[in-house]
Amino acid sequence: MKKSLGQRIWRWSILLVVTSYLALPIVAMLDFSTKVGRNKRGLYAWKAIFQQPDLVGGIVTSLELAAIVIALLLFLVVPTVIWVHLKLPKLRRPLELICLLPLAIPGIVLVVGVSKIYMWLSIHWTESPLTLSAVYAMLILPYTYRSLSAALFAVDVHTLAEAARTLGASTSRTLFQIVIPTIKAGVMSALVISIALVLGEYTISSLLNYKTFQVEINLIGQNDGTIAVAVSLASLIFVLLLLLLMPTAKQRGKALLDVDAE
């Protein structure tokens, strides 16, 4: 049915207001990061991003952390949530509670709790900032659990898994060829949330004295605000691109991990 003119104006107005609200800070950031002096414009801040070795180091560290967290998510969290959903339904509630705990515990309290472990780690094993991946894997749990759980409840995964089993699929094939592709949208949103969270995390890494992306932005921001804003905007665009690249429901492709030994 065709919408009336009034309805269309109302819809476009809402869209305009929301878009403006979201776009305004981004435009302001772009404006600020391209200012050189009082009246001049230029890409000085953007070009300077890659001339800051500490910043590049921070970016690399955060991307490495994101990669490790993704691996932990795919090979530990996703199979665990699926396994509990399919085989141990009685453990769903306790697992949900455990996964939601990081939301209830303030970051500072978390740091106080884990600082002793990190102190021991830095003395006895390694000072690598990549050890932060353990804390980050914990931090992503509330968000990833929610999106995975919603995806699992949206389809009858149990029957699909049983159908695969009767056709001769092993447990790993059932998991990687049937269950994970079925809940692909949930897994992808968990991935994007995890990447965004790792790239945006500041409190824990700063308090534990690790030089990650956000810590470096903060340090640069103390000397040169335009570079800090340019980097922040770049990271925002990066996460936005990730969100846009997320497969939609229409893009029903192959299994995430097609182990067809053809």
Binding site: L160, R165, T166, L167, G168, R173
Partner: protein, 347 residues
């Protein structure tokens, strides 16, 4: 005589205090289609899942082709299964769904053979034009056809059908039921079909087993099950019955002034309740009759009348549709029985 393809020997399974299977024993012959029929919770689905390897057992033994598979994993049993819920893999097309089992180690065939097989099976279920369609682009009936093709693709030792028609609307259900039977006869796969719909079971199966409380009450060809039930439960569960009081003496019962033979398992003396099918009751307009018509419905091929007997017992009779104009409400009728034997239960 065909050899035995499947043997369930005294299988039992409890879920807490609930006994889903309480020593079920069943044999299915090669190429036979056996339907398990029973009310909800009678254990029919548990039996089917146990045969598929999706349900472990507390006791008993499962033999397929003479081989003990009781402890074999589901993915090594070679059973094709169609589920009650739609179970096509949503990220695969119809063709990919059908080919999936053939890609796996257990049934692996060359890509060419796989494509040929999937095309043949989609043709068999009448969906060759839907090979590229995804489950969300197909109706429920079409999805179940593809699920059937997928189950048949692996050339299963036994085809297991777990109420595959229950989610479909009535018309599609009847069409697909007939098609399942046609395909089963064409392919010749030994099949176990679980349903709570008696019409479905009687219409499709070579033999029908009626289950109750985890055990088989009776298993027989549909006609025998309907005409010669061995228990009151089977008589009442399969088809409609009229409970009519009568006096039993040995192997006969006196009801409505007629001496009728009793079926094995009936009570042998005293008062009893005969379970009489509506089509075994003859109703004829007769001013000096023993009953009065309450209502009468024209159902196309037959006429169903509700009649009150002189003692107040209300019964349902089924007669030829030509009788509909005669058997109007309030008409005095004579009710007689036209059956060789009835089952009589105790009071």
């Amino acid at each position: 005589m065909s050899s035995v393809a499947v043997q369930l020997n005294d299988i039992a399974k409890s879920f807490g205090p609930v006994k889903a299977l309480a020593g079920l024993t069943l044999e299915i012959k090669e190429g036979e289609l056996v339907a398990l029929l029973g009310p909800s919770g009678c254990g029919k689905t548990t039996a089917l899942r146990a045969l598929a390897g999706l349900q472990d057992l507390d006791r008993g033994q499962i033999l397929v082709g003479g081989k003990d598979i009781t402890f074999q994993a589901a993915n090594h049993r070679g059973m094709g299964m169609v589920f009650q819920a739609y179970s096509l893999f949503p990220h695969m097309s119809a063709q990919e769904n059908v080919e999936y089992g053939l890609k796996l180690k257990a049934h692996k065939v060359s890509p060419e053979a796989r494509r040929k097989k999937s095309a043949e099976l989609l043709e068999l279920v009448g969906l060759s034009t839907h090979a590229g369609h995804y489950p969300h682009q197909m109706s429920g009936g079409q999805q179940q056809r593809v699920a059937l093709a997928r189950a048949l693709a692996i050339e299963p030792k036994v085809l297991l059908l777990d109420e595959p028609l229950s989610a479909l609307d009535a018309k599609v259900r009847i069409q697909l039921r007939d098609e399942i039977r046609r395909i089963q006869l064409e392919v010749g796969t030994t099949t176990l079909f679980v349903t709570h719909d008696q019409e479905e079971a009687l219409g499709i199966a070579d033999r029908v087993g009626v289950m109750r409380d985890g055990v088989l009450q009776q298993i027989a060809v549909p006609e025998e099950l309907y005409d010669r039930p061995t228990s009151a439960f089977v008589a009442e569960f399969v088809g409609l019955t009229n409970p009519i009081r009568g006096t039993v003496s040995g192997s006969t019962v006196n009801i409505l002034g007629s001496q009728i033979a009793t079926l094995p398992g009936s009570v042998t003396s005293g008062e009893g309740i005969a379970l009489v099918r509506p089509e075994s009751i003859r109703v004829e307009a007769d001013a000096s009759g023993n009953a009065k018509v309450v209502t009468s419905s024209f159902l196309g091929s037959v006429c169903r009348s509700i009649v009150d007997l002189a003692d107040g017992t209300r019964i349902t009779a089924q007669s030829a549709s030509s009788q509909a104009s005669v058997l109007r409400a309030g008409t005095v009728v004579r009710v007689t029985l036209d059956t060789p034997a009835v089952f009589v239960k105790g009071l």
